[in-house]
């Protein structure tokens, strides 16, 4: 699958897929990487070391700092794959230097699949 580079870098890992948007501020605990938003489809799951796949970000712009905090605390996702990256996630992945690609048909990705992300070329491969 070919998309657009948001932040370059290579990563491989297990996919964790959310069909709904993710609000990082108040949605994911930057100390543990666990999704804490009540009622979110990923509530209770950990994003650490995974390829985090979701349509787009939502909520407070402070979410960018939460993405930075996840990486700084060693519990960040290995890469982020979006349908459409908006400013909150874009700012977060660039500040945190997490590989990120958007413009991907994420409906074709399932949780648990092994993904290889080459963000500089904007590609996501299933392995």
């Amino acid at each position: 699958m070919k998309g657009r580079t948001i932040n370059p870098g290579h990563a491989e890992g297990e996919a964790i897929v959310s069909r709904e948007p993710i609000g990082f501020y108040g949605g994911i605990d930057p100390k543990t990487g666990i999704v804490i938003e009540k009622g979110h489809e990923l509530e209770g799951q950990n994003v650490k070391g995974k390829v985090l796949v979701f349509p787009c970000g939502k909520g407070s712009t402070v979410g960018s700092y939460v993405i930075y905090g996840l990486k700084a605390n060693g519990v960040g996702p290995a890469a982020i794959v979006n349908k459409e990256t908006e400013t909150i996630v874009a700012a977060g992945v660039i500040l945190a230097d997490i590989p990120c690609v958007d413009g991907i048909d994420i409906e074709h990705i399932k949780t648990g699949e092994h993904l290889k992300v080459d963000a500089a070329n904007g590609t996501v491969e299933k392995k």
Partner: protein, 395 residues
């Protein structure tokens, strides 16, 4: 996007690691929004200042930037902090919170950012001119500068505003471009508007209707900058309105063509219904005015309301440090304090930890505050004009 030789050099790290990283951020945001070049900005206002908002991740990020020697290139102000930076102890702000907040302010100061923390920078020494490109964050300040002053800014997030300050540039898209400043609908106001709170109720209602579109108001008649500040703030909070025009009142209104646009009428009924909807409590534990930060005129009005009275509940009016200095000199602060109230600077109810300070119901005269307090601060809200609020805590 077209980049100059100098800009290419910044990306390659000629000015250091921090400018390179922050410029990559601006270029990427520009790509996402279809900008074809960078433009210089005259001033910046950075959001993400309160420890309550940014927490440890934000604090550590800012300290890291300051430690790496990041400096801003243009006049840069801050959004409100989580507490009064001088009187926090007297006002009962928690010690652990204060320690973190002071670390954040220190990091900003090291980057040469003016640590005047306010959502009304235009009342505190950061006043853009008509058509000047700026990069501001706080939604009511964005609305006021775009609409009432006619400056040009998108609504920046904390990191993109900081990047704009460090580079002195922003990508050219959105409200920086003439074509994108045209109205989408006409709001025909047939309601009587007297208090700032009435303008807040109007703004709350219209924001819900138009979401992130550009409304063009007719029928407002006369309004001062406090009224327009309250109107814009409420629309930015209940919707995401970053620019509005008002016939005969705002500087670009006469340039706009409203032929054929959808017309939404607003009567006294809608205003009344909005008050009913936003009132979720009856007896306030505290009354907080000054959202957005009070002008000197608003502080004077409170002083007049409470003069010689004894307030049974805390009454705060939030403002910038600059306005508070003027209020001190005029004796307004003294009058308010003698009645039992406080003039609180640098912070606001939305970003301060009032839910940790024992308050459950807050009285406000602002559509914006009424919009945010239930979620951000778990408060019941009493939304009334200044006169009725003061009456409730004196009788």
């Amino acid at each position: 996007m077209y980049l100059t030789n100098e800009e290419e050099g910044i990306i390659e790290g000629e000015q250091g690691e921090v400018p390179a990283r922050m410029f990559r951020l601006l270029v990427r945001l520009g790509d996402i929004y279809g900008a074809d070049r960078m433009i210089p900005v005259g001033s910046v206002q950075v959001a993400g200042v309160s420890y309550k908002s940014i927490g440890d991740p934000g604090t550590e990020f800012l300290e890291d930037m300051a430690a790496k020697g990041a400096k801003v290139k243009v006049l840069t102000y801050l959004n409100p902090a989580g507490m009064d930076l001088e009187d926090w102890k007297t006002l009962g702000f928690p010690e652990d919170f204060a320690a973190k907040q002071l670390r954040i302010m220190d990091a900003f100061k090291k980057m040469d950012i003016i640590i005047t923390a306010t959502c009304t920078p235009y009342l505190a020494g950061n006043l853009p001119r008509f058509r000047e490109h700026i990069a501001w964050s706080e939604s009511s300040a964005v609305s006021f500068s775009n609409s009432v002053i006619g400056a040009r800014t998108n609504r920046e997030g904390g990191p993109s505003a900081l990047a704009a300050a460090i580079l002195g540039r922003t990508p050219d898209y959105g409200l920086h471009i003439d074509e994108n400043r045209k109205p989408d609908m006409v709001i025909e106001v047939e309601a009587g508007l007297e208090y700032n709170a009435d303008f807040g109720a109007l703004g709350y209602y219209v924001g819900k209707q138009v979401k992130n579109k550009i409304p063009y108001f007719t029928g407002i008649g006369d309004a001062n900058t406090d009224h327009l500040k309250a109107l814009g703030a409420a629309m930015a909070a209940s919707g995401a309105v970053a620019l509005y025009h008002a016939e005969g009142l705002t500087p670009e209104a006469h340039l706009m063509d409203t032929q054929g646009l959808e017309v939404i009428p607003v009567t006294d009924n809608e205003i009344k219904e909005t008050y009913a909807k936003l009132n979720t409590g009856t007896d306030p534990d505290i009354v907080i005015l000054g959202c957005p930060h009070a002008s000197l005129r608003e502080i004077a009005a409170l002083a007049k309301e409470v003069e010689g009275k004894s307030l049974k509940k805390p009454v705060w009016i939030c403002t910038s440090r600059v306005m508070k200095e003027a209020a001190n000199r005029m004796g307004f602060t003294d009058t308010i304090e003698r009645a039992g109230g406080n003039v609180v600077a640098d912070t606001c109810m939305v970003v301060s930890p009032i839910e940790r300070m024992g308050f459950e119901t807050t009285g406000v005269n602002t559509g914006k505050g009424a919009n945010y307090l239930p979620g951000f601060c778990r408060q019941n809200v009493v939304f009334r004009n200044i006169h009725e609020l003061v009456r409730r805590v004196t009788e």
